[in-house]
Amino acid sequence: GQIISPVMELKMFLLVLGLLVGTGSPDMGSSQGKCSESLVQGPQTQENRTHTTHSKKPFPVLSFGYDYVRLPFEISLWVLLASLMKLGFHLMPRLSSIVPESCLLIVVGLLVGGLIKLVGEAPPVLESNIFFLYLLPPIILDAGYFLPIRQFTENLGTILMFAVVGTLWNAFFVGGLLYGVCQLEGHRLVTVDLLSCLLFGSIISAVDPVAVLAVFEEIHINELLHILVFGESLLNDAVTVVLYHLFEEFSSVGTITVTDVLLGIVCFLVVSLGGIVVGAIYGILAAFTSRFTSHTRVIEPLFVFLYSYMAYLSAEVFHLSGIMALIACGAVMRPYVEANISHKSHTTIKYFLKMWSSVSDTLIFIFLGVSTVAGPHEWNWIFVVATLIFCLVARVLGVVGLTFVINKFRIVKLTSKDQFIIAYGGLRGAIAFSLVYLLNTDHFPKRNMFLTAIITVIFFTVFVQGMTIRPLVDLLAVKKKQETKRSINEEIHTQFLDHLLTGIEDICGHYGHHHWKDKLNRFNKKYVKKCLIAGERSKEPQLIAFYHKMEMKQAIELVESGGGSKLPSAMPSTVSMQNIQPKKPPQDRALPQLSKAREEEIRKILRTNLQRTRQRLRSYNRHTLIADPYEDGWNEILIKRKKMKELEKKISQMNNYLTVPAPPPDSPTIARARLASDPQAWGLKSATESIPSIKVDLASPQSPESVNIVDEIGMKGSQPKVSEEGGGLTMKVPSPTKPRKDQTTDEDNDKEPQQRLMRCLSDPGPAAEEEDEDEPFLH
């Protein structure tokens, strides 16, 4: 890759900063900000805009109209800054391995904010509605769409316990104790009443999904802990929403009655279940829509995004939990949508989600930094320190207490190491900040103090906990994420186990967890899939879908690796079908048998030729984005591969020699011309053209066996050349045609002239033929 020198990095950074500061007006911030523009002066713009002028001025050749593009320009500039920062940090590997990205971004935000303040402007503040409407949804959708459903549902009870009971505990503990501290403190804090404290407690007690994602993503912790903390951060949104509204509503009144509490509980159920239902409805709609998109593949990703966003917004209209709606929508639609959409759309969705959530995430942290500088602050040592301590204590007590109860019901118990990580991973983030920012200063005169306290807690959790969690994870030797690829054996046995456990439950007679899961699956297969998945794929059982996916992956890997003699790891060339097929007893024939070595050679040839037909596609240089061949082409390749395999099997059963003619190769120039014209469709064409047509003909009249393979090369009009030498035929393989566009290293292999395979002579003598035609045909 390129190496950007630190000096150039700095220059870029300063340039962007300068631009930002220069234009620096708080358009994104509160409306009370000053609206001054240091660059744009009044008279000039007016002059350019008005038609009628009092005196004739010369026609303006070059004019300056900044106001016109102001808003999008500034937004783009901020996003650009965020992205450049992200870029910069990853170029400094030492720094990014010690400090998590979120910390660095906050620091950058602080710097930018400080610079803006220095210039005399008011730095923009993270507006709550921008945060909730534009910055938060992509992150949540990204999380929800790729949520590992299996682990999530297996641990749902635990997650709910932590999310609901844990958050309630935290809120009341922190709020109550803070109230006590305020009363004790005396003169400055005594005005803070109980409800305000409880409100503050409920805001600050919620674990923040953005912060958790940002930190946990980098430490690669094992899946159980990840899903526990992350699931908790998602599901506690409902609790936070209810508590927030409850306390906010009644803070003006001043008292809360028992009915209010009961209504609060009902409200909680409505908020959470309502959010989920709304999300599920939109998810089903999206799945249904995707059933019909086979002709307009280009807009498929759009449906996914739009329906999800609508789900979020619809939930927010009714003050339901938007986060839960978004999660439910993503999780519900995913299996059906993925069955319906094309591979390209899937990649697009994945990449757009990752991109948006990444940008959002970066912007949020930068703005947190800027907002810190912007203030307004009111620092009160006692309050802030008390908040911090109580938060930590509440979290630890909550986790320990809950785990004690939960472990009675879990099979896989949570160890104390797990508990520590869960407690330590309870980070607070921008959601809490925005919620406080939304508070009305009339009702909450101490809002600024709250703001300061929250920012302090956020900083503490993100910096201290975020930075130290990685070494702690290593120190405590917490299990890390296993990067193993799922093998087909595991898949088979997992499914087998599922059925087995369901069966045992049925024999036992009690309807456990497996029974209901099985029932749900059957319902899903019978009714739901038929509605929501287009065509034949609705009937495809999971095992077959998995197998096809694996084959597809292997085929793509094969192409990616350049189609050389290296096979993908899952199907090693070292063990072939021959090794596992039971040997047939040698048939009693008068004709000589092919030696095993020769059979293997034949097989190798066939396989290599199949590989060479998979030309290397130009792959875009993104991390995991692979070149997406035209979809139908892949099906063709897979079909051909199957045929090849069948051919191999038949050969292994044959005990006679074979003769194989083949078409002449395409000349390189023809190949190049063909490729250059249509980069997308050539994959399809070249595959069909370069696969050798193998007509296996047995010269001996005695053998009844003959194998014929469909001649796929027919179209280009190449004829099989048959040259007779001593009674046998040679098989000629077309030299592989690779795109010459960018790869020069492979040309040596490619330019090889026609390779001559072996000839098998119709020779009654068993020994004579062995050494004649053993030419090296490859390499």
Partner: protein
């Protein structure tokens, strides 16, 4: 309680509890279920299990039922299958699905794991030759896919072949063309299922609650 000659008494339960690890209440509940299935007789037949309605839709029904009548699972070093089983054997088979208790040593956990995997292995290795051959494995995959309609035996074969190749490559490594991989031995089976935490996943919640009233 039914017309038993020998009423289950505490002593009998206690020995069973020691052998299988179930609690006394759980044994009582399972005994009730056993009686319900066997129509109050002392032994259980295959047909009794086949009457369970919920089992109808299970693709590997016959293999599950066979597992109950397979002497290898009775922990008495027997071989071959029997026609009828008593409560003790029923309970022994059920004990393979107990969750590992919390405070056991690593060796005990490993032992439990091996026992459970042995049970699974026996389910696949129907001819009891100690290896799962390609044919047996193909049979397994076919059964798994049997409820999914006629999607071709070829696909099932293809999947089984691919899986077998994978096992061979993981367990044995590179093989010369004329070597023959006999089948999956128990050791290989352990190896390929290393990633799946069997002792955690292969368990049923045996509640202390009498569930016979709930089921049909």
């Amino acid at each position: 309680m039914g017309s038993f000659q020998s009423l289950p008494d505490d002593h009998q339960y206690r020995t069973l509890s020691q052998k299988t690890g179930f609690s006394l209440e759980q044994i009582a509940i399972l005994h009730n279920r056993f009686k319900q299935l066997s129509q109050n007789e002392e032994t259980l037949w295959r047909d009794d299990l086949k009457t369970i309605q919920d089992l109808e839709s299970n693709p590997i029904r016959s293999q599950i039922i066979e597992a109950f009548f397979d002497s290898r699972n009775f922990q008495k070093d027997g071989v071959g299958s029997v026609e009828e089983i008593g409560f003790e054997e029923f309970l022994t088979v059920m004990s393979y699905f107990r969750a590992p208790p919390q405070n056991i040593t690593v060796e005990q956990r490993e032992e439990m794991r091996r026992a459970k995997l042995r049970f699974l292995f026996n389910m696949h290795d129907t001819d009891n030759d100690g290896t799962i051959t390609l044919e047996e494995y193909r049979h397994v995959v076919e059964e798994l896919l049997s409820r999914s309609g006629a999607l071709g035996r070829e696909t099932a074969k293809g999947i089984a072949d691919a899986a077998m190749l994978e096992v061979a490559s993981i367990s044995v490594g590179p093989m010369a063309p004329d070597e023959f991989y006999e089948g999956i031995t128990f050791e290989h089976f352990l190896k390929i299922l290393n990633g799946v935490e069997i002792e955690m996943r292969m368990h049923i919640h045996f509640l202390n609650m009498d569930a016979t009233v709930l089921c049909k």
